[in-house]
């Protein structure tokens, strides 16, 4: 009986899986050509900060894990329609910027790029868009995790197209507290805290939304990011700074198309991917593709904190430090400790009086900075 049921169940499962979800497996097309080395321009003029930042890079071979191929040594300038052209400062890392620019709302701006190989590129003129403030950044605990949302509205009903970027910061600790360090053959008191760190990560997804089809220019709880249940981001305290920008309709189309093409494909009814070219052109040959976009907008920011005490029951993730183990370094062995890559943690004292040695563990388990964060508390914390 059980046998039969299992078989039947198996049979049904095969059916449903075959029909409804098919099978998805990793696949790399063999025909991937050599890197076409196309210029990528990411430019933004922030009216609120009166700052313009342009990043230049080149495309990379697909699947490459190298650092972005930054384009240095270019001459980048910002131009106001009917006004002067001002050069941006080259930071020699592909970033070009300029601060304290005298900008005015509803004026048109464009950027001009001359790369070191002598090629010239320019963007369309874009209007510096006004931005209403973010009304609120909120969060909700759902089955999938913590959903961060943004709500805004424009009483003038003109903003309509919004983009959000964010920076997440969270506090975390290493597995073992350390107040000792090994120095010149002996253990000395540590003067820095490597137990508590803060990690800061900028957004990596495109978040755009439009109230175009609504009667009022209202964006209600637009999803910003989802903190999955397995993340360690809200182990102690979590913060997110959401920046809101306003896009032109074309800018909105560009970003939403880019998002559709690179973040959202793969179900049965998705549109075909296509070359998404922005508002930047090759001045020598308009047929040569240039990637990226230049937009201009005032910005509005809002920061919220989530303390783990605020989370609903059952939401506290179990603190696990898989693979961490503490060893004891006896006093006699201490001189040899210099050969070890491990770090000392705390004194081991017997009966409250006799020091017999020190705890030690691997760097990953002791120094929270090993995970990429900083032990310097951010100002806003």
């Amino acid at each position: 009986m059980t046998m039969k049921n299992t078989f039947l169940k198996q049979f049904k499962n095969i059916w449903v899986i075959a029909i409804l979800i098919g099978c998805t497996e990793p696949y790399t097309p063999p025909e991937i050509e050599n890197n076409p080395n196309i210029l990528v321009v990411d430019g933004f003029l922030d009216g609120t900060k009166r700052e313009c930042i342009v990043s230049l890079a080149r495309t990379q071979r697909l699947g490459s894990n190298e650092q972005p191929n930054d384009e240095t040594g270019a001459v980048v300038s910002l131009q106001e329609n009917g006004g002067n052209s001002i050069a941006l400062i080259d930071h020699n890392n592909g970033k070009y910027s300029l601060s304290n620019i005298a900008v005015s709302v509803q004026k048109e701006y464009k950027i001009h790029v001359k790369t070191k190989d002598g090629m010239e590129y320019t963007s369309d003129y874009v209007v510096l868009k006004a931005s209403p403030p973010i009304d609120s950044v909120t969060w909700e605990a759902t089955d999938q995790g913590i959903q961060i949302q943004a709500t805004t509205h424009d009483p003038l009903n003109i903003a309509r197209y919004y983009q959000w970027i964010f920076v997440e910061t969270w506090q975390y600790t290493s597995a073992y507290y350390s107040n000792m360090k090994f120095q010149n053959g002996s253990a000395v008191l540590r003067d820095d805290d490597i137990y508590t760190c803060w990690q800061q990560v900028p957004s990596t997804n495109i978040i755009v939304s439009s109230s175009d089809k609504l009667t009022q220019d209202v964006i209600y709880k637009n999803p910003i990011t989802l903190l999955t249940k397995t993340t360690d981001k809200y182990l102690m305290r979590y913060s997110i700074l959401v920046q809101q920008r306003v896009l032109s309709k074309e800018g909105y189309n560009f970003w939403s198309e880019l998002q559709k093409n690179t973040e959202n494909l793969g179900t049965l009814f998705d549109p075909q991917p296509s070359q998404i070219l922005g508002n930047i052109y090759d001045l020598q040959n308009a047929k040569n593709p240039v990637l990226g976009y230049f937009s201009a907008s005032y910005t509005s920011e809002k920061r919220i904190f989530i303390n783990n005490a605020d989370l609903p029951q059952g939401y506290l993730p179990i603190k696990t430090f898989a693979g961490c183990r503490q060893d004891t370094v006896l006093l006699v062995d201490l001189p040899k400790f210099g050969n070890s890559s491990n770090l000392l943690t705390q004194r081991i004292v017997m009966g409250g009086i006799i020091l017999i040695g020190y705890g030690s563990s691997s760097v990953d388990c002791v120094d929270c900075r090993a995970k990429g964060g900083t032990n310097v508390q951010p100002d806003f914390w």
């Binding site: 098919g22 696949y27 097309p29 494909l265 049965l268 296509s274």
Partner: protein, 920 residues
């Protein structure tokens, strides 16, 4: 075996049509002492009125030794023949027939009904099977001489005999049956109503009737003048090799039509199917020149045409979406179907409105004689079809219902993934046919299909396609008949989202058409048939309406304005046999299309690309006002030239115009695709195709070979700007790019239609290319060069093989190979907005991996007893036997800053199915 014996032995015995009739009042009183039977006969004949008929040779050993006291002749004979193999029959004229081994039938000839003809009670050992009785009746009908027209001595000139060819069993008309005489060979085929009309020299003829799956019939006629002859022929219940009708054997070589694929439901039922059900569209895909973009993608691409360029007709009513459940099923219930014809080229002037092909699906007519039903159960669906007479011999109905229990299946799977998923569909189709009198027939047909699904999301989709048609066929004379049709089709879908109460919405779309047409057929002479007609179709489109769902929703209503169009056409065409070697079809269709108000039409700045930002004004047209008119002539021409008895050359040219198109930028037909009427910016598509074919039958027609080449040009084909938004777009013209299409190919086919082993192999090389012809960069794809269309699959090969172990067990193997469809692939990566992005190649520059699939199926028929409660069959099939992971699509996802390529396969494992079918 027993049955076989009976069939063959019936031919050996000369059957005399006499009834046994117990009239013998005369009693016998005599003494027969050891006399020969011959002597006994003389004695009896001398004293009574009985007369004996027998073969003296057979009875010369019989000795009669009997003393009789006032016994009936039957009793006497019974005593004489007791323990022997002799039988006798006594008729009403007191004639006595004696046979050895077998009894003689006791029924009267067909035309003697009315006279009492009860079986002889005294002889109770009669053992005539139904089959023999029927066979005899058939022979009687076939040997009877029918007088057509008023008797006259003047047998000068020709006369026309016409009528319906029907199945004896169900009264259903037989389509495409050949009605002909030999010497000289003059023949016609029955039309879609089973009607034929043949003109012959007056005088005596033997008319033969042949059709696939039916017994060959014949009628003796004496043709005095024009007249009517309805012919009933028997179904071929035991498809013996010898009985398989040869009429169709020559069809590929001798028929006028080229580029046509006709499949009857029997052939389709033999093929292995994925989900345990016969699927018309899937079967079509095994034929040369017919392709699809992928598994589970509905819609077919015929000779490099888009999915919306096929005119799909169900009993003459247009079908907009022929698919269920994302295309895993076609909406045609196999039990209701009679035949499916696909015209790829040489399309007659009767058809118009779509560029690529005509898929003509015909349902059966209900059984006119008795109530019956059929159905099936497979792992996904259940279906039931009922049919029968409403008024016997005059009115019949057939209705088929099919539904899925996939919802139930989903619930059985304890997976979180499917918690929020539902998927279900049903369809009902059928028709009613009514014979008013010999000259008038009425046919009403209806069709309804509905789908609803929600796949692990907060968005529910549902769509429905329905149509109905009413046809009146009137025979003006033996040579002229007309069919008047009125029809209605409607396709609509809605999408409902309710996860977020503030943004909850419903969105719906619908297209409706009302059409009327009159078609006339005139049989001028055996050499010439003229068809002509007029038609008009009114379209109404509701291109999209988004509304808030629920009180909290702040979604604004966004309703696209309704669209209207009127498409009218007039056509005439003639089939003409110049001589036995050369036949021609010449036809033309003139179509006129009007885009009608009320409608607001935007105008755009001259010399600027058609983009929303270049809108300058809009014009409001009033109700009924003509906004744009398009018209044009669509010439059609076909030619067949017989090179030899077994080979022929065919050529055809046709031009088609299409005024309504589907807008879809997904690769397959999706339930959210919208239809769009031609308007001032979207011009009608025009397609021209020339096609040349060579057909040859080899070795006593055992093998059919054919080669067809075609070249096709399409004007105003549609493609879309990258990432175009097609739904709820008020200015859809700004997202469309105009393209010219070019398609060409060669199709080779080798077919063995008969025998224990039958099937076909095909190979097709074809290309389908597009080229944008706009001036502005945003409207140009791949720099204005030719690029492959989404369904360009150059190499394609199919193998279908059936092997009949015996009449009850049948094995099928199906293999399918094709080049992967084109794909736009990522060429490089770059970082933008904090994440890696992908730079895509030119459109459709690369391809997904090649496709290969092998399926097998095994059919078990129940026993072949004709009389039993229900006939059933079992089908065991394995779809994708090798379990190859054929790519349905290849896509790339940027996840946590990393780009990953994925391949999506559907049916990536061998899928077993068991289907039970029944018929009662």
């Amino acid at each position: 075996m027993n049955l076989l014996f009976r069939i063959s032995s019936i031919c050996l015995i000369s059957v005399i049509s006499i009834s046994s009739f117990g009239q013998q009042k005369e009693l016998i009183a005599d003494n027969f002492t050891a006399i020969k039977f011959e002597q006994f006969v003389i004695q009896v004949e001398s004293k009574t009125s009985f007369r004996f008929f027998y073969k003296p040779l057979l009875l010369d050993t019989v000795v009669v030794n009997l003393r009789v006291e006032n016994q009936s002749i039957a009793d006497v004979l019974t005593q004489i023949f007791i323990g022997t193999d002799f039988h006798f029959v006594i008729d009403q004229s007191n004639y006595i027939f004696i046979t050895k081994g077998r009894e003689i039938a006791g029924s009267l000839p067909d035309d003697f009904f009315g006279i009492s003809s009860q079986g002889n009670k005294t002889i109770s050992t009669f053992d005539i099977s139904d089959y023999e009785k029927k066979e005899k009746k058939r022979n009687q009908i076939e040997n009877k001489l029918y007088n057509i027209g008023a008797r006259t001595n003047n047998l000068q000139g020709t006369a026309t005999v016409a009528g319906f060819v029907r199945s004896t069993l169900s009264g259903e008309p037989i389509i495409g049956a050949a009605v002909f005489i030999e010497n000289p060979m003059i023949g016609v085929a029955t039309d879609a109503y089973g009607y034929y009309s043949i003109s012959l020299q007056k005088g005596r003829h033997e008319l033969k009737i042949k059709s696939v799956g039916m017994k060959t019939g014949q009628r003796q006629i004496m043709l005095y003048g024009d007249g009517k002859l309805d012919i009933d022929i028997d179904e071929d219940v035991t498809p013996l090799k010898e009985v398989i009708v040869e009429a169709d054997r020559d069809v590929r070589v001798t028929s006028m039509q080229m580029g046509v694929e006709k499949l009857d439901i029997k052939t389709m039922k033999q093929m292995p199917s994925a989900l345990g059900e016969v699927d018309v569209l899937k079967v079509m895909l095994s034929l040369p020149g017919v392709q699809t973009v992928g598994e589970g993608a509905n819609g077919i691409n015929v000779r490099g045409g888009a999915t919306n360029q096929n005119l799909i007709l169900f009993n003459d009513a247009t079908i907009y979406n022929p698919s269920h459940l994302f295309g895993f099923f076609s909406t045609f219930n196999p039990d209701v179907l009679k035949s499916v014809e696909l015209y790829k080229s040489g399309i007659n002037a009767d058809y118009g409105g779509r560029l690529s092909s005509v898929l003509d699906v015909k349902s059966r007519e209900g059984n006119l004689k008795k109530f019956s039903g059929s159905g099936g159960i497979s792992p996904i669906t259940g279906r039931l079809t009922l049919e029968g007479p409403i008024i016997k011999e005059r009115t019949s109905f057939i209705v088929g219902f099919r539904s899925t229990y996939s919802d139930w299946l989903l619930k059985q799977v304890n997976s979180k993934e499917f918690e929020n998923s539902t998927a279900s569909f049903y369809d009902i189709n059928g028709n009613i046919s009514h014979k008013i009198n010999d000259k008038n027939n009425l046919y009403a047909s209806f069709y309804l299909s509905k789908d609803r699904f929600k796949l692990n999301s907060d968005t529910a989709y549902s769509y429905s396609d329905r149509n109905a048609s009413l046809k009146w066929r009137h025979n003006f004379s033996n040579k002229l008949f007309g069919v008047f049709t009125a029809g209605f089709s409607k396709y609509n879908y809605d999408i409902l989202s309710d996860k977020n109460p503030v943004n909850a919405f419903t969105l719906d779309f619908a297209v409706k058409q009302l059409n009327a047409k009159a078609d006339f057929n005139y049989f001028v002479s055996p050499k010439s048939t003229i068809s002509a007609g007029i038609s008009t179709t009114h379209y109404t489109l509701w291109p999209g309406n988004q509304q808030p769902n629920g009180e909290q929703s702040i979604v604004a209503q966004d309703k696209l304005e309704q669209e209207q169009g009127l498409e009218s056409a007039i056509y005439v065409g003639e089939n003409y046999d110049v001589n036995p070697r050369l036949s021609l079809y010449i036809g033309a269709r003139y179509s006129l299309y009007q885009y009608l108000g009320p409608k607001k039409v935007y105008t755009y700045a001259d010399n600027l690309p058609l983009e929303e930002r270049n809108t300058i004004d809009s014009v409001q047209y009033k109700q009924g006002e003509v906004i744009t008119t398009y018209y044009g002539l669509e010439p059609r021409f076909s030619l067949r030239y017989s090179l030899h008895k077994n080979s022929s050359l065919k050529f055809s040219y046709n031009r088609m115009r299409q005024y309504i198109q589907m807008l879809s930028n997904t690769t397959a037909v999706a339930p959210t695709d919208i239809w769009k009427l031609s308007d001032p910016y979207i011009q009608p598509q025009i397609g021209d195709q020339i096609s040349l074919g060579y057909y040859k039958n080899i070795g006593r027609k055992q093998l059919e070979t054919s080669a067809e080449v075609y070249y096709k040009l399409t004007q105003n084909a549609l493609d879309f700007k990258g990432g175009a938004k097609l739904l709820l777009n008020h200015q859809i013209e700004t997202d469309i790019v105009n393209a010219n299409g070019k398609a060409y190919g060669i199709e080779l086919m080798l077919k063995k239609p008969y025998g224990k082993l039958n099937g076909w192999i095909t190979y097709t090389y074809s290309r389908s290319l597009l080229q944008t012809r706009n001036t502005y960069s945003s409207e140009i794809i791949n720099r204005g060069e030719y690029y492959p269309s989404n369904y360009d699959k150059p190499h394609s090969a199919n193998f279908i093989g059936n092997y009949k172990f015996n009449r009850r067990v049948n094995f099928s193997l199906n293999m399918n190979y094709s080049t992967g469809r084109p794909l736009t692939i990522p060429l490089a990566q770059y970082e933008l907005s904090g994440s890696k992005r992908v730079y895509y190649s030119d459109r459709n520059k690369y391809r997904i991996p090649d496709y290969f699939r092998m399926d097998i199926s095994l059919n078990f028929e129940g026993n072949h007893k004709i009389k039993k409660l229900a006939h059933s069959s079992w089908t065991f099939a394995i779809y994708n036997l090798t379990g190859r992971n054929n790519a349905y699509s290849v896509f790339f996802v940027s996840k946590d800053g990393k780009i990953e390529g994925y391949k999506l396969s559907i049916f990536a494992e061998p899928i077993p199915t068991i289907t039970y079918n029944f018929r009662f």
